[in-house]
């Protein structure tokens, strides 16, 4: 329960904070977000003693057991550390953001997104069920997309956000595939089971595939080479976002995943080579490029890439000590990188730029920030006594021990030292260039504004953290990091020998060489920049954009080639597919089953012949549209008669009303088209189409014949038996509609509502050619609403409504129901339109059809939900029989309420379509919006 509230607190906060954003003081949303974060943090810290003693806290609620998805949380030392990092850092970022956004709009939106992101990250690190974790994983991708594109009016922000989403979202898909594979092998998605099944997974034939997919997910999220591109491009985000997402949290999610799945997937050659090679490549690339970036945030971004590579490399080595070193460096990286980002943001606010060629010598203007940045930059460079020094030295020791490819073992420490050298150089650069290095040049804001103390407070706290970790390293490594390594690897991690960190050995000389080399490199920077500028320019962003455009254009071309807007083609494709897929199978089926045929009487045969004749007539006469429509209508009437003949009064009633309304609507639509269709397609094409049509029709007919002549056990016996005891009604058709198959009906009325709203949207601003009043309209027959019709239509309305109410009420036991009653009401109302005209009818009726549709669907849903509250399945109907004083025996069923929802939706949807099509026909053109 605690874990659930830890994750839910920020998510609920994210929903509530926007409500506070309108408050007069900008402090209120900040304080609210802070309180939420603090609450989550305290809940976590309360669990700390239990968790650090090695206990595992889990809780689980079933969600969709059939696919193995459950709401399951686990808290061990690894999860606790990450969760504390996420909430603790979140708290500092909220403090920082309050000053960063001071006086700017959008702070409320920012807090909401921050909290949503925090909740998602907490979900990732505390999930026990991997499918459940995936939800949060995707959520971080989505929220970070919005956060990076926070300034959505700027093009680079949008492009950066899109790039992030494409890369991390794509990785998320790969991860999902990997997790599904793992789950299907292990038989459970719960981490406890998956971690215990490590041997089984590693021995499985699909192991390389799983490893690739999971690594793709982790590497894209943690910006590993070659997916690191998105991170520098995400620097268009506001600085608090960069400091939070791109130094402390989101980019660590991939590393968390590596640590989390360590017992399940690690300890193989494939893991060692792939993970450590990627890590090393990332480490070197990031460190090298960072040195040459002139933008403070870009430099920090590439430096983050390189540090992530370092941690990944350590994860790849996979020994217990490497895990300790990696996790320790992860803590240190968050402690020194976040304040540096914050510094970059504060300096940008003060000076208006992030270009280090212009920002120089700020120490006079902001001495406090200078000192704090000195501490954090020294930690990043790996100066002795600072925390960064310790973890970097651990890394050097591990690189010396690494046994990657035996003849090339010397390569790892050499490359590690080179990376260390570059990392020292760019650390010197960002500190020296910003705060010293002569005088500022042409700053957009001069003199630099003094940064508020509030914006520096989080930086001070984090710098103090750097010093504290450096000072108390032994206690932290033994107390916290060791517990984390144990939780991550699944076996008790051996005590880390802290003594070797103070030992003067090869690792010490590597650190020394890196520092001195870094200093020299920095001293030579001007010449290096010149050399770097001579390198061929390779703008990854442009390449990515080019790829995206190509992919987009290709997809568009493909879609257009397939979907060219021709309805004929779609239908032909569908029928052809059916013929090709089913034809060969059906060709071998015996078409005539064993069931005897119903004897045919002459009347039925005559009806069938007439129905066929009308159908042929439609095909032959389809060029004359009105004629074809009338024949179509008569075909529908024959279908109605067929239903009546075979004792299906419900179907007959429905078919009749549908037929009437369909013909009216089609007539309205046809009046906008020419009376006849010209011949548009070639003879060849027409013969091709007729062959397809004949084949499709013959196939459907034969299949129906084959099925109906076979004896079968259908579900209809069950429905007939259960109709009265189970559904409380003797009209089986209606009981099926509102009870047995109520869910289908709910879906159908929803579709109907959507279709009606689509018609509304299509015709809303449609300006058809103005209908010119016909010359002949001046004749005496011109009155479009003749008196006789108008007079007769009025008394018919109440009679029809009474019939409709009668049909509706008796629906449960006799032919009728909500659908038919709705259609009858619509027919009666549309008669009023025809008799009196649109304006006349609208003066006399309520026209809020869209609320009617929504209300109907809502009523049907609520009726269904009501049964949930009674502890029954969704949409179970309830009924009872009562004796009332005057009315006598009466049956009440919740199905009636559901049917009322159906009725309302049908009336609303059909009237919306009718009224809006009719509106287009008025001589004066479309008037006000209807519905």
């Amino acid at each position: 329960m605690t874990l659930l509230s830890v994750v839910l607190l920020p998510l609920i906060g994210a929903l509530l904070v926007p409500l506070l954003a309108r408050a007069r003081s900008p402090l209120i949303p900040a304080i609210a977000s802070g309180i939420v974060t603090l609450a989550a943090l305290s809940l976590l810290l309360l669990q700390a003693p239990t968790v650090l003693s090695g206990e595992l806290i889990t809780s689980e609620w079933a969600w969709i057991p059939s696919i193995g998805l459950s709401i399951a949380f686990r808290l061990d030392a690894l999860a606790l550390f990450f969760a504390t990092l996420i909430t603790g850092m979140g708290l500092l970022i909220i403090l920082y953001a309050h000053f960063y956004f001071a006086g700017k709009p959008g702070a409320g939106r920012f807090y909401a997104l921050m909290l949503a992101f925090m909740g998602a990250m907490l979900g990732i690190v505390t999930s026990e069920n991997l499918l459940f974790m995936l939800i949060f994983w995707e959520m971080t991708s989505l929220v970070s997309f919005v956060l990076i594109g926070f300034h959505s009016d700027q093009r680079p922000a949008r492009r950066g956000a899109r790039m992030t989403l494409v890369i991390t979202g794509g990785g998320g898909l790969a991860l999902m595939a990997g997790i599904v594979l793992m789950g299907s092998i292990v038989g459970s998605f719960n981490l406890t089971d998956i971690l215990a099944a490590g041997d089984e997974l590693r021995a499985h034939a699909h192991y390389p595939l799983i490893l690739t997919l999971v690594l793709l997910g982790a590497m894209t999220k943690s910006a590993q080479f070659p997916f690191h591109l998105w991170l520098p491009n995400a620097m268009t985000a506001p600085t608090p976002v960069s400091a939070y997402l791109h130094s402390a949290t989101m980019v660590k999610a991939g590393i968390f995943l590596l640590a989390r799945l360590h017992p399940a997937l690690a300890d193989t050659d494939a893991w060692l080579y792939s993970v450590s090679t990627v890590g090393m490549a990332t480490l070197l690339t990031g460190a090298f490029i960072a040195m040459f970036k002139h933008d403070t945030k870009e430099l920090l971004a590439y430096s983050t890439v390189s540090h992530l590579g370092l941690i990944t490399l350590l994860m790849g080595l996979g020994t217990a000590t490497a895990l300790v070193a990696g996790l320790f460096h992860l803590l240190n990286h968050a402690l020194f990188k976040a304040p540096l980002f914050m510094m970059a943001g504060a300096v940008e606010k003060a000076t208006g730029t992030r270009d280090m060629r212009r920002i120089n010598g700020l120490w006079r203007h902001m001495p406090l920030l200078t000192i704090m940045s000195a501490i954090t930059a020294a930690s990043m460079a790996g100066l002795p006594l600072f925390n960064g020094y310790l973890s970097k030295k651990m890394f050097f020791i591990e690189s010396l021990d690494a046994n990657v490819i035996s003849p090339l073992n010397w390569l790892t420490p050499v490359l590690a030292a080179i990376a260390g050298l570059f990392s020292a150089a760019y650390s010197f650069r960002i500190f020296h260039n910003v705060f010293f290095n002569g005088q500022p040049r042409e700053l957009p804001v001069w003199p630099p504004r003094k940064p508020a103390l509030g914006i520096q407070l989080p930086i001070i706290l984090l710098a103090a953290g750097c010093l504290f970790v450096g000072w108390q390293a032994e206690g932290i490594v033994h107390g916290l990091i060791r517990a984390m390594a144990t939780a991550s690897s699944g076996v008790k991690a051996p005590a880390y020998d802290m003594g070797q960190l103070h030992h003067v050995g090869p690792a010490f000389y590597m650190s020394l060489a890196a520092l001195i080399g870094g200093l020299i490199l920095y001293a030579l920077r001007e010449r290096l920049f010149e050399l770097y500028d001579q390198l061929p320019p390779a703008d990854a962003r442009e390449i990515f954009e080019w790829l995206m455009t190509r992919a987009g254009n290709g997809a568009e071309r493909f879609v257009h080639a397939l979907e060219n807007g021709s309805v004929q083609r779609y239908i032909a494709l569908i029928i052809l597919t059916a013929i090709i897929m089913a034809g060969p199978v059906l060709a071998n089926v015996v078409w005539y089953g064993a069931k005897p045929m119903t004897p045919a009487d002459p009347l039925t045969i005559l009806g069938a012949i007439l129905m066929m004749a009308t159908a042929f007539g439609v095909v032959l006469g389809h060029r004359n549209r009105l004629f074809a429509l009338l024949l179509l209508g008569s075909a529908g009437l024959f279908v109605t008669l067929t239903f009546a003949r075979f004792s299906a009064p419900d179907l007959a009633l429905t078919q009749l009303s549908v037929e009437v309304i369909a013909v009216i609507i089609m007539m309205l639509a046809l009046s906008f088209l020419p009376q006849t269709t010209p011949v548009e397609s070639s003879r060849l094409r027409r013969s091709r189409d007729s062959i397809i049509a004949v084949l499709g029709g013959l196939g459907t007919g034969l299949v129906s014949f084959a099925i109906m002549t076979r004896p079968q056990d259908s579900i209809s016996d069950f429905f007939l038996e259960q109709s009265v005891p189970g559904g409380g009604g003797s009209n089986v058709v209606n009981v099926i509609l509102v009870d047995f198959r109520g869910f289908d009906t709910l879906g159908e009325i929803t579709v109907l509502g959507i279709a009606a709203v689509a018609v509304f949207a299509l015709t809303r601003n449609l300006q058809l050619k103005h209908r010119i009043p016909n010359e002949r309209d001046q004749y005496w027959a011109s009155n479009p609403h003749p008196l006789i019709l108008r007079t007769m239509a009025r008394p018919i309305l109440p009679i029809a409504l009474m019939v409709s109410a009668y049909i509706f009420l008796r629906g449960h036991n006799m032919p009728g129901g909500g659908f038919i009653a709705g259609l009858i009401t619509v027919v009666a109302l549309s008669l009023q339109y025809m008799a009196g005209g649109l304006a006349w009818a609208h003066d006399r009726m309520l026209t809020s059809f869209r609320p009617l549709i929504g209300g109907g669907i809502l009523l049907a849903c609520l009726t269904g939900l009501g049964s949930l509250f009674m502890g029954l399945e969704f949409l179970t109907s309830w009924f009872g029989h009562y004796e009332l004083p005057v009315l006598g025996h009466i049956e009440l069923a919740t199905a009636l309420l559901f049917d009322l929802g159906v009725f309302t939706t049908v009336v609303g949807a059909t009237m919306l379509i009718l009224a809006n099509l009719g509106k287009l026909m008025t001589v004066n053109g479309p008037g006000e919006e209807i519905g």
Binding site: R776, Q778, Y779, W780, A781, S782, P786, I788, L789
Partner: protein, 131 residues
């Protein structure tokens, strides 16, 4: 309830009469030379023909069930109210679209229409001169 013979005979006569009118109406619809004449057939069939059948049905069911059968009354009322209106509308539509008629029709509608349209043209021109 046992049906007396005279009642049976009345019911039979009514139904036969209805069927006869319906047949004649259908024949008229098929055989008459122009639209306006053809309109006569189905209107008689839907009022007189169906009406007679309904009265027969009402008599029979009322006797058989021992209570007055309301449904037929309702249908009859509905039919007598709506069928003439639809025939009227069809006639108007035909006039409006100037559907042709037999040469020998007395008092062809066009004369009347042309007279009225001439008046309409006059009134519109006089409206303009006033402005």
């Amino acid at each position: 309830m046992e049906m007396p013979l005279w009642l049976d005979a009345i019911v039979a006569a009514l139904i036969l009469a209805g069927a006869l009118v319906a047949t004649i109406g259908s024949l008229g619809l098929a055989r008459m030379p122009d639209f306006y004449m053809r309109l006569h057939g189905p209107t008689k069939a839907s009022t007189l023909g169906v009406g007679a059948t309904l009265v027969g049905s009402m008599l029979w069911f009322s006797t058989a069930q021992g209570s007055v059968s309301v449904q037929e009354i309702l249908i009859t009322v509905f039919l007598f109210a709506t069928a003439p209106v639809s025939a009227h509308m069809m006639g108007r539509a035909a006039l409006h679209r100037r559907v042709g008629c037999q040469e020998k029709t007395n008092g062809q509608p066009w004369d009347e229409m042309d007279r009225l349209s001439g008046r309409a043209a006059q009134s519109s021109s006089s409206g303009e001169s006033q402005r």
